[in-house]
């Protein structure tokens, strides 16, 4: 094979690899953390915010569909307001990514709630008992 063909191929490959890497790195900060948002929040600007739903912060009003919770990253927290039903895996102590805007009143107005789950998969330890407890809990009207 001609060396010029090999050299050309390597140059193209390296350029393509660099372009993909640089492009994705610069434009793909998929979400900002609460600390990053606090540092440079602009009211009315659209953000994607990711963090952990702080345990004890979640309230949901079934009649008005008002969902309120706090997202934290260990250093800072941001209050989030949303109107609607969250996805099944959304809950306290779990990861979530929300899309919306920063409000001048000091909270994040989310239009979309996404639940982030872990890479761990577990079998229910005692399937029947766990399922029964879950059923009782939902029948009693305890929120998710």
């Amino acid at each position: 094979m001609r060396p010029k063909f090999i050299v050309g191929g390597i140059v193209i490959a390296a350029a393509l690899a660099y372009m993909i890497y640089a492009g994705v790195t610069q434009s793909a900060v998929y979400f900002v953390t609460p600390a990053e948002l606090r540092a440079s929040a602009v009211a009315g600007k659209a953000y994607r915010l990711g963090g952990l739903v702080v345990p004890g912060s979640l309230t949901w009003e079934p009649r008005t569909l008002d969902l309120r919770f706090t997202l934290g990253d260990g250093t800072a927290t941001v209050a989030v307001h949303h109107k609607g039903t969250p996805p099944d895996l959304f809950g306290e102590g779990r990861g979530a990514v929300v899309e919306g805007t920063w409000s001048a009143d000091g909270y994040f107005r989310a239009g979309l709630i996404l639940a982030k789950h872990s890479e761990e998969y577990k079998a229910p330890h005692d399937a029947s008992a766990a399922g029964y407890r879950e059923l009782i809990r939902t029948l009693q009207g305890a929120g998710r």
Partner: protein, 218 residues
């Protein structure tokens, strides 16, 4: 059996049937996600076999440029076709899995974006092959693209480590132990084996067909 290809086909069929039985009948319901987690037995084998398929494209393309063996070119062509199908299955099942768990069918995070790029690159590879009339030229150009395209495979896999994503890190292809109960691992392994057999069967069939095609046209 006289025909090894037919034997491979039957093995794949038996594997897929066994895979369905373990995925729906034996593997337990996952604790947090519930039954929807069973999509994993289709979603994960599909992408792992797609990685395998595109790895074969890389090796066969290199072999073609080096030795100019028509067989290597046919193998690369067949493997790319099957890899594209498995990537499509992975993307479709991922989308269906995403809706009930994440709350969305699609989002442009680094994992979903990079896997889409991979899908489009290998579609372009097939398009390039179909466009060029001269078979020798098509094989040469496709081989170069088949090597360059492989750059996206590590990008897809490591995207969840390199960037913030909605998609979780890998469960199977990772350093250390698999954070999953043994029954899940067993069910996944059976389905992965079945998919690998199916891949082998499709590729063998397609390589033979391409050879006949070229004999007729020659």
């Amino acid at each position: 059996m006289k025909d090894p290809q037919r034997a491979l086909g039957w093995l794949a069929a038996i594997g897929l049937a066994a895979g369905l039985v373990v995925a729906f009948g034996i593997a337990p319901r996952e604790a947090t996600q519930g039954n929807v987690q069973r999509i994993m037995y289709l979603h994960v084998p599909a992408i792992l076999v797609a990685y395998l398929a595109f790895g074969v494209v890389l090796v066969a393309s290199t072999t073609y440029l080096w030795r100019r063996a028509a067989g290597a070119d046919r193998l690369a062509h067949a493997s790319a076709e099957v890899g594209v199908i498995f990537t499509a299955i992975n993307i479709a099942t991922g989308s269906i899995w995403g809706k009930p768990t994440w709350g969305t069918w699609w989002t442009w995070d680094a994992r979903l974006t990079s896997v889409s790029i991979m899908f489009v690159i290998y579609l372009a590879y097939l398009l390039l092959r179909a466009m060029l009339e001269d078979r020798e030229q098509a094989a040469r150009f496709a081989a170069v693209l088949g090597i360059v395209a492989a750059l996206d495979i590590p990008l897809v896999h490591f995207s969840v480590y390199w960037w913030r994503t909605l998609h979780q890190p890998p469960t199977v292809l990772r350093p250390g132990s698999i954070p999953m109960d043994a029954t899940f691992v067993a069910a996944l392994t059976i389905n992965l084996a079945a998919f690998a057999l199916l891949y082998g069967y499709f590729v063998a069939k397609r390589v033979r067909l391409l050879k006949r095609e070229q004999e007729v046209l020659a």
